[in-house]
């Protein structure tokens, strides 16, 4: 006869398949991924207009330091300085949309005051402001160099500009951790439902008549829920690779996700056994997960960072240590739940 725990796990998974809820879960995750990518691509093109090809900001430059500022803007890739004789002329050009912004300079007390005007209530505002800031920072460096004699410290020379998109960092620090954690949370939620449902419908009583112990039942349910998350994580990693994102250290990542999954599902089952009412159990579970991940997020070796560093291939011995620690914690959690299950009064169910 096969292991009853395996039978129970299989039954759990087949129920999920029949209700097609797992499809919904994958869809939700895909949606979240697409959505956060939208946010980032949208924001990136706002904050880093150079990633939008051929976009230049036309700026009207007037005032005392006109020539100095124009010399700087001429060196910038995505900003074009245009000389205007007066503030009024520049503002007129701005009103008539011949320029995107106005920089009016005035030398006051050996300092250059720049009054910048950017268009409002337009999606271009952010684009323009980012470009203005970059140009003005370059201008500041040039002006600073002219005054170097009166400075005690010499600023360090900047490294060359890079041609990169912030999307790269986002993919590893936010998107991948998000995609790998979501299945873990959902698995825990499934585990809570699975146990409380049995309580609620009174079916646990029937299961108890079968020649299996409560520990077996819990083990089976736990296995089903805990296996789901790494499987989904593997799917996401495959999808990301297919999409051109390199994910390194896949084996370690899956081990980490499996540990989180085991830990979270154990916590979920512990909560469900302690509070058989579904409402309070789900509430407690949400709170616990929120606190668990909110709390660990503050740690220097937080789980999201560990995943990011594994995926981007910046693994040091500290990250390996983190993986080991989380795995040990997960195993301890699982053993704890088994102990708890032994102590549950079976007649009270």
């Amino acid at each position: 006869m096969s292991d009853p725990r395996l039978t129970i796990a299989k039954r759990e998974l087949s129920v999920l398949r029949k209700e097609k809820t797992i499809v919904l879960a994958l869809l939700i995750q895909l949606f979240i991924a697409a959505f956060s990518s939208f946010l980032v691509v949208g924001l990136v093109s706002l904050y880093d207009p150079t990633s939008v090809d051929g976009y230049t900001v036309d700026v009207a430059v007037t005032g005392d330091a006109q020539d100095d500022l124009l010399a700087v803007t001429n060196d910038q890739r995505s900003i074009r300085g245009l000389a205007y004789p007066s503030t009024d002329a520049a503002m007129d050009a701005f009103e008539q949309r011949r320029v995107d912004a106005v920089l009016d300079t005035a030398v006051v007390d050996d300092r250059v005051r720049v009054a910048a005007v950017a268009p409002d209530s337009n999606i271009r505002t952010t684009l323009v402001v980012v470009q203005l800031r970059d140009a003005l920072r370059a201008f500041e460096r040039a002006e600073r160099a002219d005054r170097a004699a009166s400075l005690d410290t010499t600023p360090l020379e900047l490294p060359p500009e890079a041609t990169t998109s912030p999307y790269f960092g986002f993919t590893y620090t936010v998107l991948i951790p998000l995609l790998l954690f979501l299945p873990v949370f959902i698995s825990g939620s499934i585990a809570v439902d699975s146990i409380t449902e049995e309580f609620d419908r009174g079916t646990l009583e029937l299961l108890r008549v079968a020649p299996v112990s409560l520990v077996d039942i819990v083990d089976g349910k736990l296995a089903a829920a805990a296996v789901l998350a790494p499987a989904q994580a593997a799917l996401w990693i495959l999808l990301l690779r297919f999409n051109g994102t390199q994910v390194h250290n896949v084996a370690l990542l899956l081990l980490l996700v499996a540990s989180f999954s085991l830990l979270v599902v154990s916590v979920a089952i512990g909560i469900a056994l302690a509070t058989p009412d579904r409402r309070s159990a789900q509430l407690m579970y949400s709170l616990a997960v929120l606190l668990l991940f909110g709390g660990t997020a503050l740690l220097p070796w937080n789980p999201a960072n560990a995943i990011a560093r594994l995926a981007i291939d910046s693994v040091g011995t500290d990250v390996l240590g983190v993986v080991v620690v989380y795995t040990v914690v997960a195993v301890v959690g699982y053993v704890g739940v088994r102990k708890l299950t032994h102590h549950v009064d079976e007649t009270s169910l």
Binding site: F38, L43, A116, T163, L298, S314
Partner: protein, 628 residues
Amino acid sequence: MSGRPNGRQRRWRQILRIARWEVTRSAGTIDRRTAIIGLVALLLSGAVFGATAAAGVSGIALDRDIYRVGVAPDSPYYEPVVQSAALSVRPPSEGLTPGGSLDILVRDGQFAVADTQKGEAALAEFRGAVESYNDRRLSREKNQSAAFPVFVDLQYVARDEGFGGSGGAVSVDDGTSSGTTGGTGSSGADAGSSGGSGPGETTGGDRGPSATGGDANSDLPVPDVATGGGGLFGGQTSGSPAAISPPFPFGSLLLAFVFLVPMNFVIQAYGSTILNERINRRGELLLVAPVGPGDIVAGKTLPYVAAMVLVTTAITVAVSVFGGGTAGVVTVLSVFPVALLFLAATFVGAMFARSFKELTFVTVAVSVFLTSYVFVPAIFTNITPIALISPLTLVVRDLQSSGVSLLQYGFSTGPFYLGASVLFLLGLGVYREEDMFTQRPVPLKFLDALDSQIRSKWSMATLSALFIPFVFIAELLAVAILFALPIAVSTPLLLVTIAGVEEVAKSLHVYAGFKHARFPRTLRSALVLGTLSGFGFFVGEKLLAVVQLIGFGDLELGQQLLASAGVGTDVDPLVALGLLLAPLALHTVTTSISAVGATRDRWSYAATVGVATLLHAAYNLTVVTSLV
């Protein structure tokens, strides 16, 4: 006449009694053990937070040490790398990536970068780190005017954009940037606060920038470079160039979470209590009581609505106190419809779900979709009128004391109120014995719910019109998702998606009607129902067009969405009439096509919807290419 108030009073008393019963029963489920476990969880988390706080860790660093820089301790670039969170210091001997493990190697003032994407990203991070390191060192310099020789005052001036209601400038309030207010007070915020007065007046008076130089002379404040960022709800507008930050309302991101996360807890409980009624036929007792299903649902929902309002009010007060804003009644009123839609969607989900597990997924789906709908446009709060489709924009404006007009409130919250009502209506339709206590797949339940709303053939038109808010939401989400793709891919995809969404929304209830044999399965009735449904949708869409006048024509993709609705630009009357009637013809024809398929079975229905979608998309394509 005298009997009615009494009747109404009695109804109210019944609803309140059910509400009270719901509250006491819910409180009963939290026994002593639950309370103790909750307390332990809280204490544990407190310990975790306390321990990390004690360890002196500040902030959440997701990108800690993700790039590796090889730099010797005696190099001047050693300090910037140490101070940067994302960069980790490595001995230079390790070598660059293909052979070694470094992304950047600094040696003798030269920078070698690994030839990978990661190397480039590391270089950008490194450049930023050196830049802010320079700024930090210079801020300790005695001669501040030499260290920061440039001082910027940024102001936003509205140019005439041609939007009716929202043409005014959004104030970028600079209240939080300490130390800079002295010099820039007078001109900084004027452009914003003049509101809808239009560009002529805004710039006519004091010609903006030139006035600033004069009045602020001797005591230029020390630029605020250490923080780099601006206030919570808007960019910083004056200081050294490094201090200028573009208007990125990070606040709305924060707000989305602050207001919506607690809602998830409430809907979890609400979904459970509704599903509880259905499991083991528990709700049967309530149903046989002399109370209507509407009253039962109202009574059971009331405590949760109250909880939502309470939580929202508490959060509003907290946000006002900690965020330094002036949130008030407007905020609560803006978040309320979101809460209502959360509850309504959960109610329908709980009415359809077969098990708790299914309910969990439905709840997650609801909160994900709603959160993203609320959240996207809020990012663009200070930038574009499209932001107004999210009530969170109203909250941000309320916090900035920018004022919210009744029209704006209606535009933002209208779809939410309408959507919530429709969902409650649908859920109520299946709040009856034959649906509540049977186990059927969700799609079938959904068709049941649609069918329960059909009274006559005219219901087709009403239902089509009622679906408009959902179509609107679905299409906006499609725009949001497809926005990320290159425009050559996204435009055709979007046209087909929008057409598909509309065709399904127009024909689903027709299919439900045929499925439940409400109408004879003849060609004639298919054509009648299809025409009516198309007509209803057309009327609803025209209402949407009116809403468009408030603003929402800025985004290129948005224009395509609306162009298909016949909301073109200025055209002569004859063409305008044609544009008005053409969509009517389109909707009736395509819906009739789907209706013909609906008379048969599932597969022919799907096939005809496909045909209708393609026809619709082709029409949209012609309109978009000829108008835009």
